[in-house]
């Protein structure tokens, strides 16, 4: 069974169509790296899979583990096992990071973290941020670390990560990416990662590169090769030459 299937998805904001008929299939226990130019709709797609507004689905379906979730609320999707790492997580005054982490763990706010949880918090270098308001005054890297730790605590089956590596220094990237890889391996979950950079490929084992161009997703093997190709030739050319290669193979 596919873990996620997106069929002919049309998504808009305030009447303006952003994605016009996207198709995507993700398999269980696989990691996918998604590339695409700015404004191609990567965040729109990933937010729509999670059910985040203001994106509205006007037609098409999203099916998660055999269940149509197109009209489900965000919390229902989260409870089914989808988790989203936001590209721009909001600041929330008055709510402490420790409270949010406990919510992710489905823990009573009055109980303390156990040893294992504490060491993960420490590994993410967030021990000193527990009493701080969520994301308020956090640097880019601190935000992403907090975001990823929340996701691991949520124990999802599908991780949607929107540019987890943007605004993150090399050390934080290494930490975040290797923790994600560890989680994926241990839990057997799938990941769909939007990125503009190749560095994350040093840590995430993936056999799938997807390029979003004009509402069409083109998937190829070998993300690192695809990334190098995009760098050299740009998105359009990369897609057309890869498709030519595939065509040639098919005709042999």
């Amino acid at each position: 069974m596919h873990i996620l299937e997106v069929r002919d998805l049309v998504v808009g904001v305030e009447g303006k169509t952003i994605l016009s008929g996207v198709n995507l299939i993700l398999e269980e226990k696989e990691s996918y790296i998604m590339f695409g130019p700015n404004g191609s709709g990567k965040s729109t797609l990933i937010n729509t899979i999670m059910g985040i507004k203001p994106y509205e689905v006007s037609s098409g379906n999203i099916v998660f583990m055999g269940e149509d979730i197109t009209n489900k609320s965000v919390d229902e999707r989260a409870k089914l096992g989808i988790s989203l790492g936001f590209q721009y997580p909001p600041e929330i005054t008055g709510i402490k990071l420790s409270d949010l982490l406990k919510i992710c763990l489905d823990k009573d706010l009055k109980t303390d973290f156990n040893q294992e949880e504490k060491s993960l918090i420490e590994a993410f270098r967030l021990s000193n941020f527990l009493e701080r308001n969520i994301n308020v005054g956090f640097s880019g890297g601190e935000r992403k670390r907090a975001e990823l730790l929340q996701m691991i605590f949520l124990k999802p089956k599908l991780l949607l990560l929107d540019e987890p590596d943007s605004g993150v220094d090399v050390e934080s990237l290494k930490l975040i990416a290797s923790e994600i890889q560890k989680y994926i391996e241990n839990s057997g979950s799938s990941t769909f990662i939007v990125t503009h950079k190749g560095d994350i490929l040093d840590y995430i084992k993936s056999k799938h590169a997807c390029i979003l161009l004009d509402s069409k997703i083109h998937c190829f093997p070998e993300p690192r090769h695809i990334y190098e190709l995009i760098k050299k030739k740009g998105y359009d050319e990369c897609v057309s030459c890869q498709e030519k290669i595939i065509e040639r193979w098919n005709n042999v």
Binding site: I52, V74, D75, L84, P89, P90, G94, I95, L100, I103
Partner: protein, 373 residues
Amino acid sequence: MSEKSELKTIPHKILAEASKAGIDINDPVSGTLLHIDRETIYSKVNEFFNGKIELLDTKVALQKYAWLNDYMWQIIDREKDEFTKKVATDFSGGYFIRILKNAEVTLPLQSCLMITERGLEQKVHNIIIAEEGSKANILSSCVQHSAAGSASHLGISEFYIQKNATLNFTMVHNWTEETKVRPRSTALIDDGGTFISNYICIRPVRDVQMYPVAYCNGEESKVSFNSILYAQKKSSLDVGSKAILNGKNSRAEMITRSVSRENSMTIVRGLIEGNNAQCKGHLECKGLILDDESYIQSIPEMIARKKGVEITHEAAIGKISEKEILYLMSRKLTNDQAVSMIIRGFMDVGIMALSKSLTEEVNNMINLVANAS
């Protein structure tokens, strides 16, 4: 009235009402005073704090100390309005709190004014003196038993913050949908004195109107007024504060968090008047409006009379951010859970510089109302 009565002998029903407003016999406190309807039925200082604080019914204190007359109606004009006039003609007591010179009162002092009698017009006069160099926290709770119907509460409070004294005074109101409330408070702050006045009104009330005033007359004197207002079920809150900065390097800060819903009306006023060339003030008001039937108005006022006065203000009223709700929902909270968590966080007691135990106390109260909503 009996000063010896043990708190445990007070009827259970009354204790239960009092606990809603944070007055709990099991809490470690430095002293407790309970004034019910027209009578102070209990006042006791924890023996550990003997010689550091004095806690008496105002009428009893007036008999004990002739000098106290010099503090009565000293900074509030008895002719100010119909409510002050009423209390000036006749009052049932109130609390007299004296923090003695250089005393550091490490545990909070609690006083509770309660209405149980149907239709009562409770009239009290409180005098609070923080003597030179003293430090204390006071939790003053006002409670009405729901059986008392449409009662009203008129309370005069005069605060004297003497040289280098610090007083954190937190007033919690727990009235009913039928109570009319008219507190009249003024503080006089001497050199180096700090007065932190916190007001918490998070349960339904018919109508509160108050506008406490602080005179920062002393050099380096400071006042902060902080309010957390949760207007619900047709509550009407007109809450403001005024700081007159007369002293050199005097400071005023006013912070308000107000939430309005269910046909409620909130007016938040704040006035800082700078009369000294070296004084500073800041007003901050944040409001959340949760439906189309409610109302929030913020009225910040700033007056400068000397070159060098610096007063700033910021105000923002809005709805709960959809993005924040969705973010929390992506962490498995339902829409309602996310909303109440954001409201709870918005009513941030962190603004009140409370001691640890009071922070917990107030947080518990806020959690109760936020979870119920």
